[in-house]
């Protein structure tokens, strides 16, 4: 099983995440797309780790996951407080800085 297949799959998943960020306006879904991109990166990490026979790739996946968890906690807290103020989480409707 060659590495290319995994990297192609990873590239496709990453692209879907990018397209999602471009075409959707719901903050929660944009957020999910970012998670999707991080996951695509994880897949590439693990695949290359296997190809090189090194453990490091798997380690970086943990760091990515830790960062993703922190990011989600903060991001969702922001979304909740934005929703309380504005009653919307459409990113185009919350484009002014005035609280």
């Amino acid at each position: 099983m060659s590495l290319e297949y995994y990297l192609i799959l990873s590239a496709l998943l990453f692209t879907i995440g990018v397209i999602g960020v471009l075409i959707r306006r719901n903050a929660i879904i944009i957020f999910m797309c970012i998670e999707l991109m991080l996951n695509a990166a994880n897949l590439a990490f693990v695949a290359i780790s296997r190809s090189l026979g090194q453990v490091e790739g798997q380690l970086f996946v943990f760091f990515v996951m830790a960062v993703a968890a922190a990011e989600v906690a903060i991001g969702l807290a922001i979304i909740v407080s934005v929703f309380k103020h504005r009653e919307t989480i459409n990113v185009d409707e919350v484009n002014s800085l005035k609280g």
């Binding site: 995994y6 190809s51 996946v61 989480i89 409707e93």
Partner: protein
Amino acid sequence: MNPEMILFFIFGAVSLIGAIAVISFRHPIYSALSLIVTFFAQAGLFVILGAHFVAAVQVIVYAGAIMVLFLFVIMLLNLGTLSEKGALTGKLKGVAIILGILLAAQGIYIAVNALNNTEVGSEAAQEKAAALTNNPIETYDIGELLFSKYLLPFEVTSLILLAALIGVIVLVKRENQTEN
């Protein structure tokens, strides 16, 4: 066609379909569920790659914690299908998708061609990979490396999590004070 290949195509297809579903569903709950499916398929891919520990952590962290948090927020705010006001329409949406396809083409090109000139694609690496298939990376190896060579990054990660914890508390706390 060996079993690994068949499993790869099954999991790969499921993860791609799930990912496309994430960005196509109008309702955030359905998007979140599709994302969980994608994460699962990826955990399956990790298992094929011999990274059992990563696969378990993937399910625990992503499917078990992060996505529950997403669902919790969607349910707490009772988000229905929200307005997509300001979303790219018509031609612009087409442009976005074309740009995306270009990006994918770049990624695929790199995956297929550029690897041949690097260490990853070299024959020595291929042999190593073959040896590794019989002798997969154990959880033990990960732990050993994590607590020796990568101790500093590991500790920094814990600081990031602590910062996130404090950040969330501050964000919620401010709400309470304004309400009171």
